[in-house]
């Protein structure tokens, strides 16, 4: 009888350690919104998701992968492209967002069109200017691949791919993309200190920016009209496209500012190439429309040197250990270690 109890104890202990290793909430962060009980993390599911994330098999012509527009070295966005760039050199209508800390996000896309991380990948897989395929075509291709038979079997105990399993695996990889080790985080943890300039920028940031880009995620994950003049070549109404509610006109998802050094260009249409342009927009570029965020109704006033301080602070949100984390990179050992698909 004693023996049985001992074995049980060991199992619980192992499960706890394994879970802790795969996902942990950084100190002083809120609880994530993603429902892990519907999709419990495992190492093999995360690996399958990472393979799918980097595999152009998801696109109609086997050329575009998730990573095409969400590359690790740019904090999982597509730098130098104002608007996303997809299959057959198609150009989309919005700037591909940087991917990180997704387990804390309530909705996805600039307009919140997607209500659950699991369902996010369906949109780019299907969009004619992104991957131009369908989840059915993807599942058929995966089921024809010996390599994926093995990966699905290891992940789910069943080698048959389904839409559900494919999407849940991609979610698992994306959930692991946590950025919480920037200089800012180290300052908060009292491991290092800000320079004088960064400290001044942090104070200005807290006064002028943090009601929408609130710590520690640097976004409320809500929607706001930040006073961008409408680009008449796009006429993007933002959140209103989803809710059909005029009160949501010109509101877009508030993006995180973490790793902003890497994720240029900025805004939903990628109109600003430099952080200085972004800061100048908030001090002197606001276009007033009925849905303008209340925080921007009165101009933000910053001197030239204060603007530089704010940018210096924003650069402390750069997390090199995130961008270069070997667990997030192209899984070449699996792609090339297995031979033919």
């Amino acid at each position: 009888m004693k023996k049985v109890v001992l074995v049980l104890f060991c199992l619980i202990f192992t499960a706890f350690v394994a879970n802790n290793k795969l996902f942990s909430v950084p100190d002083n962060w809120p609880q994530p919104v993603y429902n892990f009980s519907n999709n419990p993390l495992s190492e093999n599911k995360i690996l399958l998701g990472r393979m799918l994330f980097y595999d152009p098999i998801l696109s109609r012509n086997n050329i575009i992968s998730c990573a095409s527009c969400h590359s690790p070295f740019s904090a999982f966005t597509h730098i130098d492209h104002a608007l996303s760039h997809g299959i057959n050199d198609s150009i989309g209508t919005r700037n591909s967002p940087a991917l990180m800390n997704l387990a804390w996000q309530k909705s996805f896309m600039w307009d919140g069109a997607i209500n659950n991380l699991d369902m996010q990948a369906l949109a780019p897989i299907t969009h004619t200017a992104e991957m131009g395929s369908s989840i059915n075509a993807v599942v058929d291709k995966l089921n024809a691949s010996a390599m994926y038979h093995e990966l699905f079997f290891k992940a789910f105990g069943d080698s048959v791919a389904t839409g559900e399993k494919t999407l849940k695996a991609i979610s698992q990889f994306m959930i692991t993309l946590i950025s919480s080790n920037s200089k800012y985080d180290k300052v908060i943890r009292k491991e290092v200190a800000f320079t004088e300039q960064e400290a001044s920028g942090y104070k200005l940031f807290q006064k002028n920016c943090s009601s929408c880009h609130n710590e520690p995620l640097f976004t409320t994950t809500d929607f706001a009209n930040n006073g961008l003049a409408v680009d008449t070549t796009l006429n993007d109404i933002g959140r209103m496209k989803i809710t059909l509610n005029p009160n949501d006109s010109l509101k877009f998802k508030i993006p995180t500012l973490r790793n902003i050094e890497y994720s240029y260009p900025y805004m939903h249409d990628g109109r600003f190439k430099r952080l200085s342009e972004v800061v100048n927009h908030y001090t002197s570029g606001i276009t007033v429309t009925p849905t303008l965020a209340k925080e921007l109704q009165h101009p933000i006033i910053l001197t030239a040197s204060e603007k530089v301080d704010v940018v210096a602070f924003l650069l402390t949100l750069t997390d090199q250990s995130f961008v270069f984390n070997p667990k997030f990179q192209y899984p070449k050992e699996v792609f090339f270690g297995k031979g033919e698909r």
Partner: protein, 176 residues
């Protein structure tokens, strides 16, 4: 001519004098007119039940709509999930009619939406008697005859039209 007719039936219950006497667990069924085997739904109860009404929902409830990836009849490969905006398509009807001014005279009704004010989910209660097999009819002709295909021939997103069409469809179900 109808080319596609697919819809979800969910949360099936049997009632006796408005009291629930049986609830199907995990009750999500995709009915596909091109696949007759999907039209027979078997229910099993381990005790004898008496009922005089059957209740079900036409479509998928809001909690399931936000719950992430699902399998079986709810798998997105079933073609009943919107990709550009999250949410299940509760009811899909496609076909052609000479009355319809669209390209190739094609009409397409993809009805769904789970968020107020455009929640398209419909609850249907039909009177019946306790018996081995309940036949439920959906009078597609009644629904299509009530449509003005010259004016309304395409609904592909959650909106007011999707809600009002869903209500009319719910009225086209009956038992013998």
């Amino acid at each position: 001519m109808i080319t596609t007719l697919k819809f979800y039936i969910s949360q099936m219950q049997f009632l006796f004098d408005n009291k629930v006497v049986y609830t199907e667990h995990n009750s999500y069924h995709l009915i596909d007119a091109s696949a007759p085997e999907t039209m027979l739904l078997s229910q099993f109860s381990d005790k004898a039940i008496h009922y005089n009404a059957i209740q079900f929902q036409l479509g998928i409830d809001s909690l399931t709509n936000v719950a992430g990836a699902m399998g079986g009849d709810l798998d997105p490969t079933k073609g009943m999930y919107w990709t550009w905006q999250s949410g299940y398509i509760n009811f899909k009807l496609e076909g052609t009619s000479t009355n319809c001014p669209a390209r190739n005279h094609e009409f397409q009704f993809h009805l769904g939406g789970y968020q107020a004010p455009f929640n398209a989910l419909q609850t249907i209660i039909l009177k019946t008697t306790t018996k081995q097999t309940i036949k439920i009819y959906f009078d597609i002709e009644k629904y299509i005859k009530g449509l003005d295909l010259a004016k309304h021939f395409s609904v592909m997103s959650p909106n007011q039209e999707a809600v009002s069409f869903s209500k009319k469809i719910a009225e086209s179900f009956y038992t013998e």
